[in-house]
Symmetry: C2
Subunit: 310 residues, 2 copies
């Protein structure tokens, strides 16, 4: 699976934040380094920025490495795939957040409560506000925002940032379950209403300086999706740049696509990745039905654009 | 499939309203009679009340049979399985509704608009109100209500009735998609919030005199549910009375179960079905994993009650 996803990511991007919610969470410096090495062995031309799974080990791990900045991912316990070892109470992590703020580490957050599915994200809004206010110099990234409520929160606090996925820009709850039910559009946070999508689109198409593209592409084998108990996660990796291009072109925003997918994130993360040129051509392509056992988003559909071969 | 469903229905009930949204809709008197005969051939001990699919043929069909009352089912076009031949504009059916009112026919309604999935039913509320007001003697049944909005509508108009399913009494959206995604709990209307379920439970547990149990049990083969594009419909037939019993017992309402599942409907429909005695025993049973290729609701789970063998 890692081979498939790395190949696709490296085809389109110079680097990416790699999330740590594997079945064995990436929660030590050693595991991070091992995962990074593993990914780099699969593609020399790609920089993985591995996030550290926030748990009781985190403070010790970052203290051991005073010389480098960490990207730490906070999952409330149980809110998504492999998040059962996540955080139960934020109160226990005050010292860690204070330390991270001092050090200049970044805090990425899957911002959902354990409330009812469609309001979990908006219920998390006051938690974001409190975190941002208590640690005003800690850069907090609201990952894969899906609601107008969080879109509106972005400008209330200087240290709040956000990522938006392609699927939350494209789809609403009606695409998941309004007609027949499509498990390949099932993810956490759930895709929401047309009004929510419109709010996300406004941020993306304007390339708001605190907003970054984050694919949240999550591979699951077909049998784990087309079954009686499907895993959450959309595998968008094969279609990301072609579909982003189409969407931004259709909304007269293509000149801001580069900021949205690349420059904003490099500035927020303070990165300087090696330059990489990717050409998108308006040549139609049909999305594969399956990539290495995984059914991609828009499988079998005809896209207007494709990534040109090197 | 008809064999499986008829056997299960006849095991627990003296009769049932049989819905006409087959792949070839039951939209003529002849088709109704044929379907009724077919079902009765499978069980002598069961009275199917076949509803007529409302379309442009309906007025002609009921005029040809002045001597009998019809039960007509209105599907807005495309809102559920096999409903593409349904009603596009209610305005075209004024004459029919007036005629049905005079004759004493009943109008059953799948009350959803073509709006966003979670608000389709509440958007239909003003349509119910207008229908009920315009044809004050027409008995209108709001089928399988799923929201507090429709629960509250019931007492506003004398000629509005409602049915409630077992699955809308048991489940919320979180059971469908709050953790992993369960296509066997996917139906139209979609199961809603805990507050909606609470409103339905209040009506059911009090056996409100205008509320009837309606299973809306809808069989689909496993391959049409555990796939990339799952059909809407929950197959609850194997567990109906055992689970209703448990639920009513747990909510200290078991003395009102008989009204909810049987007496209210017989009074509203003005029926006198042959008496049938069904014994429910508190003997645990495990729900079958599959019945004739169909995965039932609660497949493989242990129920507290079972229907006693004859």
């Amino acid at each position: 699976m890692l081979k498939t996803t790395t190949r696709l990511a490296a085809q389109m991007f110079a680097g990416a934040v790699v999330m740590p919610n594997l079945s064995a969470p990436i929660d030590t410096f050693e595991a991070m380094e091992r995962y990074r090495t593993q990914i780099q062995a699969l593609s020399r031309d790609f920089e993985p920025i591995v996030a550290l799974f926030l748990n009781e080990k985190t403070e010790g791990e970052i203290k051991k490495h005073a010389d480098r900045a960490f990207v730490v991912k906070l999952y409330p316990s149980g809110v998504t795939t492999n998040a059962f070892g996540g955080v139960v109470s934020l109160d226990e992590y005050g010292a860690l957040f204070g330390l991270m703020e001092e050090r200049g580490d970044m805090l990425l957050v899957h911002g959902e409560t354990n409330g009812e599915a469609l309001v979990r994200e908006e219920e998390f809004a006051p938690i974001y506000e409190r975190l941002a206010k208590t640690y005003p110099k800690l850069k907090i990234v609201m990952e894969h925002i899906s609601t107008e409520v969080l879109a509106n929160l972005l400008d209330k606090r200087k240290n709040l940032y956000a990522t938006i996925t392609l699927h939350h820009l494209l789809f609403t709850l009606d695409d998941l379950l309004g007609g027949r039910l499509n498990p390949h559009l099932f993810c956490k946070p759930i895709v929401k209403t047309a009004a929510d999508r419109a709010a996300l689109r406004r941020l993306a198409f304007s390339a708001h300086e605190k907003v970054m593209f984050g694919s949240d592409s999550a591979p699951h084998y077909r049998g784990d999706k087309e079954c009686a108990s499907a895993a959450a996660g959309i595998f968008s990796a094969p279609v990301l740049l072609p579909e982003l291009t189409r969407l931004f072109v259709e909304h007269s925003s293509v000149e801001r696509l580069q900021c949205f997918v690349s420059q904003n994130a490099q500035r927020v993360y303070n990165l300087s990745l090696p330059q990489k040129k990717v050409t998108i051509e308006d040549v139609p392509q049909t999305v594969e039905i399956e990539c290495g056992g995984i059914v991609p988003m828009l499988a079998g559909e005809l896209l207007a654009y494709r990534v040109a071969e090197d």
